[in-house]
């Protein structure tokens, strides 16, 4: 197996620079849902909104808790699905 130390260089969340080691440590500490991990670590809060990391985090939770991914609680999928400039929204409001 690859040691947890090696996973200091395994990136789960590119936006916030969260490593697999950090995620595993958090799960060990007791953060057992995607949302809990997100709130405490910011994993998934960046510009991509968890598109890249969510699946890895779910897999890790499932693996360590012995649950099936289908049993896990999911985090919310919030709008906007793509980053949008505030200025563009403001123009729309002006009509």
């Amino acid at each position: 197996m690859i040691s947890n130390k090696d996973h200091e260089n395994t990136i789960v969340c590119r936006c916030e620079d969260i490593t697999l080691k950090e995620i595993r440590d958090l799960i060990k500490e007791g953060f057992k849902t995607v949302d809990e991990i997100k709130r405490i670590s910011r994993c998934g809060m960046g510009p991509c909104q968890g598109r890249t990391c969510r699946q890895i985090v779910m897999g890790e939770i499932a693996r360590t808790t012995g649950k099936d991914v289908s049993e896990l609680r999911l985090s919310t999928f919030r709008a906007p699905t793509k980053n949008i400039k505030i200025g563009i929204l403001a123009e729309a409001a002006e009509g």
Partner: protein, 473 residues
């Protein structure tokens, strides 16, 4: 490097223009993504990550992730994998989080024009094979359609599929994906379908049933009577040490770079995943003149069609089943990948490591439905690994558990393009019918589509899919 000649594709490029990267003068083609132009100039490191200061290049190539954020003309956090190159652009490596203070504050004009809410019978989200087919059959029934696609041309993934399709004549068998895109686009009833390009649906707002859309830097709203979500799927990622090195791309991203933008992804490639995408993209890399060193697959069997596997084997590309990535190495970008063998319990075996000197690694470990809008709409979802992940429950007519919201294609469970097209037709027919539109052939066409789907899925390669679908319908 740009691809000079290609056995299948002819690249339509803009004029050659000058631009600047970190003070250096470079050349690129107007209108190509900035990341493609930089890549063609040998630039792979686009930014430094915000906390760990790691080098990053693009990863998804379609504006999904945050790997490629750069400074462009003084503005930070620009996704250069989708932002188009213009003459004289000043592009810079972004350090940390980006400095907004130098960006020009644009005065807000009132010409945004987004104040009204457009109404339409059916909004089809996604102009790939499923969405196009949905629009075509909804038109046939008599319904008006607004077709939204985030790209500058319709066709979805078809526009990078240089290989011939499987299936039967009805699903355009033996025609190349790129040509199917044109055929479907021609079939659209231009009077009945309003095509919105460069239009991303940002959200489905449940309280008033409105879609918030960004279209060509404008925010607009659409209130449809019915919605057909045909947003496709996104590529899964893998976790291994140094998985973020520039040069490690989604297989679809490498395909976008080479088949859409005509840029060579690198010299020596390791393909991770021997499903259809891994096999097809390997073949296409070879067609673009790039050496594929090996294809590895964690499962003990090749997941894609054997004919695709045989095709790449005849080119001399080895396929290692039961192998996975141990780690990647490289200073600023990928230089070496270490792979190792897995035992029956998917545990790596020490001592089986093989080092491969490659500058590109493509990750093709599967797709998952791009279902964000369905979650926002409150559609009931179920995790079905055979279909790529969380997939919406739906009826035989492709309607989800939320009335008026239909699905088709990969977002309804990752499958082949042929079934995506049939699902699209079915969703289009049924959504139109539910609004009272019928050209008199509804019953017959619906039945036909259902039978076609059954035929396509009746074989052994669809076994997992059938099992998965049973849980949804």
């Amino acid at each position: 490097m740009h691809i000079k000649e290609h056995p299948i594709l002819a690249f339509k490029r803009g004029r050659r223009v000058e631009f600047f990267f970190d003070g250096k003068k470079m050349w690129g083609y107007e209108g190509e993504p900035i990341a493609a132009a930089l890549h063609a100039n040998g630039v792979r490191v686009l930014r430094r990550s915000i906390k760990l200061n790691r080098p990053r290049g693009f990863y998804c190539a379609i504006g999904n992730c945050s790997s490629c954020l750069m400074k462009v003309n003084g503005e930070p956090n620009v996704r250069v994998c989708v932002e188009r190159l213009e003459e004289g652009m000043v592009v810079g490596t972004q350090m940390a989080k980006g400095d907004l203070s130098r960006a020009k504050a644009n005065p807000i004009s009132s010409s945004g024009g987004g104040s009204g809410i457009r109404k339409t019978d059916i909004a089809v989200i996604g102009g790939g094979p499923a969405g196009l087919s949905a629009a075509i059959s909804a038109n046939q029934m008599g319904a008006k359609v607004t077709l939204l696609d985030r790209n500058s041309r319709i066709g979805g993934q078809l526009i990078k599929q240089t290989h011939m399709f499987f299936g039967s004549e009805k699903q355009y068998a033996f025609i190349r994906g790129i040509d199917i895109a044109d055929i479907l686009a021609d079939k659209l009833d231009k009077e009945m379908t309003d095509v919105m390009l460069n239009a991303t649906v940002l959200g489905y707002y449940r309280e008033d049933g409105v879609l918030g859309v960004e279209e060509n830097n404008r925010f607009t709203k659409i209130k449809p009577e019915r919605i057909i979500v045909a947003t496709g799927a996104s590529e899964k990622v893998l976790a291994f040490p140094n998985n973020d090195l520039p040069g490690i791309y989604g297989a679809g991203a490498a395909q976008t770079l080479m088949n859409e933008h005509g840029v060579v992804p690198g010299n020596n490639v390791l393909m991770v995943g021997a499903g259809n995408i891994g096999l097809i993209v390997s073949y296409q890399l070879m067609q673009a003149g790039i050496n594929v060193k090996a294809i590895i697959e964690a499962a003990s069997k090749i997941g894609g069609y054997w004919v695709h596997a045989s095709k790449v084997r005849r080119l001399g590309v080895p396929i290692y089943t039961s192998y996975t990535v141990k780690k990647a190495d490289g200073r600023e970008s990928l230089e070496r990948v270490t792979i190792w063998q897995l035992d029956k319990n998917w545990q790596p075996l020490k001592g089986t490591e093989i080092d491969l000197n490659v500058d590109v690694m493509c990750i093709a470990v599967g797709l998952s439905p791009l279902a964000e809008l369905l979650w926002q709409a409150g559609c009931q979802m179920k995790y079905i690994p055979e279909l790529g992940g969380h997939t919406p429950l739906r009826g035989e007519d492709m309607q989800t558990t939320v009335k008026g919201i239909y699905v088709a294609g990969d977002v309804a469970g990752v499958e082949e393009a042929s079934s995506a097209m049939v699902e699209g037709s079915l969703a289009g027919l049924c959504a139109a019918k539910s609004l009272g539109y019928d050209n008199g052939r509804f019953k017959e066409l619906r039945e036909e589509a259902i039978n076609e789907l059954m035929n396509l899925r009746s074989g052994p390669v669809s076994e997992g899919m059938r099992k998965g679908l049973e849980q949804l319908i």
